[in-house]
């Protein structure tokens, strides 16, 4: 019960360690941020970049840095943090180490709505509405999965939640196939790239669409970190501690869906970040959510910013890089968890 008595020496040591880890992660993110500004098809040398930042670059250099590269990097930081915190909540609430918005089918739900929307609206006009539509899709799918896995007296069983998530994702993918085959080649290309988790179309408008969600939901979840600690102890212990379990759980699910949905909306179907981020963080700072949540946000951001730099180098969607790193990690975890 060390986490409920934050004055013990062990806890103080863990706290110092957590601060160190968070500081190191912050430094790493800053470093990759700077390196990342310099990678891509159009290269800027470090000195050119410095000139551009202090305002003495050419118009072209400013355009590249401020209009193309910077929004994309900022976006990958936000999306990485959002997905990772969403995964961290889901893993805490379901007490299942393998929970992730991608595996649970939330991404697929967002994708379906987007395809539906694109198939009826002209492509150039639909981009602005996409985030809202995809949030609706993510929310509806999550509600469906929750309803299907809920059983009276038993509540939510995590195994059923995962299986239902996989089944719902399979059903949605089938519906998506029917719809995508009716799209014209331009629409198809857009949808395929978007679904694969591409940050190609990113500009500041997307950043400003995502930022409010992250800015509201992350602090909310951080405030709830103690609740997550308690939920993690198991239902019986938690009920004994008097937490209004179901209501708190619902708030946290809501926050997780809001984060995942808004991230899918702007970034497309990026899976596995919500899985890997929290796991790495747990290894680094332990199970206390007060440190785990910020550390997850940072590992997620770091993972995505690195993946996105690689994606730009090889000119393929970011989500594919993340899946190529994430799937083996998932399999590794599968052999380790109970």
């Amino acid at each position: 019960m060390a986490s409920l008595h934050p004055v013990t020496p062990a806890e103080a040591a863990r706290k110092r360690r957590a601060y160190k880890v968070i500081a190191v992660l912050g430094a790493l993110i800053a470093a990759v941020f700077i390196i990342s500004m310099n990678t891509g098809t159009l290269r800027l040398s470090p000195s050119e970049m410095l000139h551009t930042i202090i305002g003495s670059g050419t118009d072209k250099q400013e355009l590249i840095l401020y209009q193309f590269r910077l929004p994309r990097i900022v976006m990958s930081v936000l999306i990485g943090a959002g997905f990772a915190v969403s995964g961290c909540i889901l893993q805490g609430v379901t007490r299942n180490a393998l929970a992730d918005p991608g595996i649970l089918g939330i991404n697929a739900g967002a994708g379906l709505i987007v395809i539906l929307y694109i198939s009826v609206m002209p492509l150039d006009k639909s981009i602005f509405m996409l985030p809202f539509m995809s949030l609706v899709g993510a929310g509806a799918t999550a509600a469906l999965i929750y309803a299907l896995s809920y059983r009276r007296h038993h509540g939510i069983s995590t195994i059923r939640l995962l299986l239902v998530g996989i089944a719902v994702a399979a059903g949605i993918s089938a519906a998506m196939i029917v719809l995508t085959l009716k799209l014209n080649p331009d629409q198809f290309k857009f949808v395929q790239t978007w679904l694969a988790g591409s940050l190609l179309g990113t500009d500041w408008r997307f950043v400003s669409a995502l930022l409010p969600w992250i800015a509201v939901l992350l602090p909310f979840v951080f405030v709830k970190s103690r609740v997550l600690d308690i939920l993690n102890l198991g239902d019986h212990t938690a009920a004994g501690l008097g937490a209004a379990l179901n209501r708190e759980r619902l708030y946290l699910y809501g926050a997780a869906i809001g984060l995942a949905g808004s991230c899918v909306a702007v970034g497309g179907g990026i899976a596995f970040v919500g899985l890997i981020g929290p796991h790495l963080a747990r290894r680094l700072v332990g199970p206390n959510h007060a440190y785990l949540l910020p550390a997850s946000a940072m590992t997620g951001a770091l993972l995505l910013i690195v993946s996105d730099s690689l994606a730009r180098m090889y000119d393929i969607p970011t989500g594919i890089i993340v899946a190529i790193i994430g799937a083996p990690y998932f399999l590794y975890l599968l052999t380790r968890t109970k």
């Binding site: 195994i159 996989i166 719902v168 089938a174 399999l331």
Partner: protein
């Protein structure tokens, strides 16, 4: 309904609950139903053709009549492809469910279809115009890679893979392989071709594909029937099978090879059609009991029937732009999977 236990099993002093009479009924009735639905399938479509014309096309072929050509060159290969792949997907599911004692085993769920798919993506992108034989052999290799990934993961788990873990491993491997396929598809601009292909459909099946694929599928189906007694014993548990003198390692290897070829050949013809291998063996087991000597042939017949009937449905639903077969079967498959998952017994 005298014979509750088969002679072999009785020798081994194990009672296996099976219903051979019901099984015979299903086999005969299933084959009759298959013939009827094949006839219907040949008749319906964008252009309806009368049964007598079908008869003439078969036995008094006249090469100058378009309808005869449509029947010979389009409709008949299509029905044959449906019947063969249906039998193959269903039998591969039955073999896996029996060997792994896993009620959720299916080539789609376990990533085997995605494995075949990634190799097809590679072939489409790097070797366009590759012959169908090589295409099919490559898709065996892809299927094998997926199996190695999924079951290789199992080898590192203490106590082996539970059904749920196997499905999770399958989902992760599928995600990985689909990501790789997508990367190739986007990079080489073959996304639409590949998507049309993988969505599952038999519009483009020709005689050459049938000729190449049928020996593999039929051979493996016969192999599956020959192996079925050992699979029944494995389905009782590894210890029992070993106790009865079964070489379980060898049987599992042969069984997995059969699964790979059956699923790989089917994916290379009709794309990644999932859930047939999940649903059909369950239905067969429910109807005929737990003896795989009956489950495997019954699964093959019922699987053929499912795909042939679904294909008719796909054409009737919207005759001019055909609904992908894979999507149509998922419409039945997803609720069925949910039903299996909901039962959530401890061993799951």
């Amino acid at each position: 309904m005298e014979a509750h236990s088969s002679p072999h099993a009785r020798k081994a002093d194990i009672r296996i609950h099976s219903r051979p009479a019901a099984a015979m009924l299903i086999l005969i009735g299933g084959i009759l139903a298959l013939i009827v639905s094949a006839a219907v399938s040949i008749c319906v479509g964008a252009a309806d053709i009368s049964l007598s014309t079908v008869w003439d096309a078969l036995f008094h072929f006249n090469g100058e009549l378009t309808s005869h050509q449509v029947i010979r060159e389009l409709r008949i290969p299509r029905v044959l492809a449906g019947a063969l792949t249906g039998a193959a997907f269903a039998a591969s599911g039955a073999i896996m469910q029996g060997m792994t004692r896993n009620p959720l085993a299916d080539s789609g769920l376990l990533g085997i279809n995605a494995g075949a798919g990634v190799m097809l993506a590679i072939c489409f992108a790097f070797f366009p115009g590759m012959s169908f034989v090589s295409l099919m052999l490559f898709s065996f290799v892809g299927a094998a890679a997926a199996v190695i990934l999924v079951f290789g993961t199992g080898a590192f788990v203490r106590g082996g893979l539970t059904p749920v873990r196997l499905v999770l491993a399958g989902a992760a491997v599928s995600a990985l392989l689909i990501a790789i396929s997508d990367a190739i598809a986007i990079r080489y601009n073959i996304g639409r071709d590949l998507a049309f292909f993988m969505a599952g459909g038999m519009q483009a099946v020709d005689w050459a594909q049938i000729r190449i694929m049928s020996p593999w599928v039929i051979g493996c189906l016969i192999g599956a029937v020959l192996l079925s007694r050992s699979i029944t014993l494995l389905s009782l548990g590894e210890d029992i099978a070993v106790g009865l003198g079964q070489r379980t390692g060898l049987i599992k290897t042969i069984g997995m090879l059969l699964v790979l070829i059956l699923a790989g050949a089917s994916v290379s013809v009709v794309g990644a059609v999932g859930f047939v291998g999940l649903i059909i063996p369950h239905v067969a087991r429910y109807l005929v009991g737990v003896d795989y000597r009956w489950i495997i042939p019954c699964s093959a017949v019922l699987g053929s029937l499912l795909i042939v009937v679904s294909d008719i449905g796909a054409r009737l639903f919207n005759p001019y732009s055909e609904t992908p077969l894979g999507a149509l079967i998922a419409l039945i498959g997803v609720p069925f999977f949910l039903y299996l998952a909901m039962r959530e017994r401890r061993e799951l």
